[in-house]
Amino acid sequence: MFRRNNTLGHLYKDGEIIIKQGTPGNCLYVIQKGTVEVIKENDGGEIKVAELNEKDFFGEMALFEKDLRSCTVKAKGNATVLTLDKRSLYKTIQNDPSLAFRLLEKMSNRLRETDQKLAY
């Protein structure tokens, strides 16, 4: 269906799964508009780990490990998300390592937040 759009990326409807825990992945995602929920699925059910907003990224573990996706991410309301291909991202980082500064900075923030949550 034709959709005139002023937002880039793919539109996910409320509740639609963007990445599924346990599936292989080789992309990083950046939220262009809206909110997504990061969910850890256990035998017993689902735990919401985080809520991410515009400019936040997710799926970064696939950049560094060949492991399966560690969480499920779904749209909370309508969310538009841009896919960043692992191969082209690495090519760019090879020419311009400073592109990784923000990714590292954000990942370090997330580690700190997790540390703080564990401490409580």
Binding site: N6, F57, L84
Partner: protein, 453 residues
């Protein structure tokens, strides 16, 4: 040479020219190159705990429609740039994106074909560099250049609304003179003045070895249409024309909110060339029937575009970036401005601001772009050759249609064309993929088939 003179020379060339706490940087020109440099320089400085001051000096008002806020451009933000900016945390807001582009339609005399974006996502943005063409009153939107400047302002960068009239070199800095603003001495002056001849000559005056980029004349015009008509006739597709018309290497119609931007690139495009393009049945066929195209034209211009990079675009305390240094041949000039600006910011903050620093760390990035442009010239030579042959165009058309009909097959030629016209990949990568025997074989096979139909 006396010992003394030698010592002085060594001293001058190895002298520590660095950005330190409290350094002042003038960025002349607030187009994409100027904004990208400022944005990244202040970020890099923050990472290593440096406090610096940056003034961007720009005479245009990007919140005004028409020439006062226009930086003459097709307004395509390439797929690679969209991705890189997203990774940097710069997400283009809806009020800047006039339309998300999800395919391109290639028009040849032999027919048309639609090539969809990889991943079925809108990955390319069409924008206006200013608020829009003369008479644009749609205040829901914002200019791309204005948006980048607003990001810089959020980071504490100072915007001075003035035109630089003179630069004066002193032992301990460069004095920048503008009308209506007191003269100020800076530790580093960044030239991001695009291809403005007067402004480039200011840099040549203080850096005589600087050779300005070589350019050719292009054409841009804006057609005003109702947004519903644009949806109907253009959709979210950038229309690209490979027609056998003199002087034109490449023509494109880019849909935006309620305008369609026409861009013609080639050799010395003039009104006669423009008329021949507008008169072609392939171009007319994109618009509503019986409409007189000239009545839709809201504004038009013949801006210059880089065809060969500058030489010695740096000296002690001076660095030229963006179009003033080098660009990407015919495509993704804003993406090239991002690359050169960031390289200049990295050099200035992490290495130093002497001629040697720029030569050792910045020059190689410009050289890489130039080498890639030479490959681009070859690729455009090949497309010009195909453009002139009806049979080859039929073969090209048949190959694209063939690829688009095979859902799970690799669309090799389509992806090469996608990258050539959208500027999404370096020309070297396009050439490498073009040399894949499977691409040649499928193209030759489809061309042979055409000779029998």
């Amino acid at each position: 040479m006396g010992d003394n003179t030698f010592a002085k020379l060594v001293n001058a060339s190895t002298r520590n020219l660095e950005i330190t706490d409290g350094s002042n940087i003038a960025v002349i020109g607030g187009g994409p190159a100027g904004s990208f440099f400022s944005y990244f320089a202040i970020d890099f400085a923050r990472i290593i705990d440096l406090n610096i001051n940056i003034d961007i000096i720009e005479p245009k008002y990007f919140d005004k429609a028409g020439p006062t806020g226009c930086n003459h451009c097709g307004g395509i933000i390439s797929e690679t740039l969209v991705q890189n900016l997203s990774a940097e945390g710069i997400v283009l807001p809806s009020r800047v994106i006039r339309r998300g582009i999800e395919s391109y339609t290639i028009h040849l005399e032999t027919g048309s074909a639609v090539i969809e974006t990889p991943l079925n996502e809108q990955r390319i943005a069409s924008v206006f560099r200013g608020l829009g063409p003369k008479g644009e009153e749609n205040s829901n939107f914002e200019s791309f250049d204005g948006y980048l400047l607003s990001l810089c302002k959020e980071k504490g960068i100072n915007l001075i609304n003035a035109r630089v009239k003179e630069l004066e070199r002193h032992e301990d800095g460069i004095v920048v003179k503008c009308t209506g603003v007191p003269d100020k001495k800076y530790d580093l002056v960044v030239g991001s003045v695009g291809l403005n001849p007067g402004a480039l000559s200011l840099f040549k005056n203080i850096n005589p070895s600087y050779i300005i980029p070589k350019t050719t004349k292009t054409h841009i015009c804006e057609f005003y249409m109702a947004d519903t008509d644009i949806d109907k006739y253009f959709g979210n597709s950038m229309h690209v024309f490979l027609l056998n018309l003199p002087n034109i290497k490449f023509g494109a119609l880019i849909p935006k909110s309620n305008y369609v931007t026409m861009v013609l690139l080639g050799d010395q495009i003039d009104s006669k060339v423009v008329d021949s393009f507008l008169g072609s049945k392939e171009v007319k066929g994109c618009f509503p029937k019986n409409v007189e195209l000239k009545t839709l034209m809201h504004c038009h211009c013949f801006p210059a575009i880089n065809i060969e990079g500058a030489k010695s675009a740096y000296d002690d305390r001076i660095i030229l970036i963006g179009d003033s240094a080098t660009s990407k041949l015919y495509k993704n000039g804003i993406g090239a401005a991002y690359i050169t600006s960031k390289a200049a910011a990295r050099t200035a903050i992490f290495q130093g601001i002497s001629k040697n620093d720029f030569q050792n760390h910045y020059q190689k990035i410009c050289k890489k772009l130039e080498t890639d442009n030479n490959i681009g010239k070859f690729i455009f030579g090949v497309t010009s050759f195909i453009q002139k042959s009806e049979l080859l165009k039929k073969g090209l058309h048949a190959t694209i249609l063939d690829e688009q009909n095979k859902i799970n097959d690799k669309r090799r030629l389509s992806s090469i064309l996608w990258d050539t016209f959208t500027g999404s990949a370096p020309y070297s990568s396009i050439l490498q993929r073009g040399l894949d025997p499977r691409v040649g074989a499928s193209f030759i096979w489809n061309t042979i088939k055409q000779t029998f139909t």
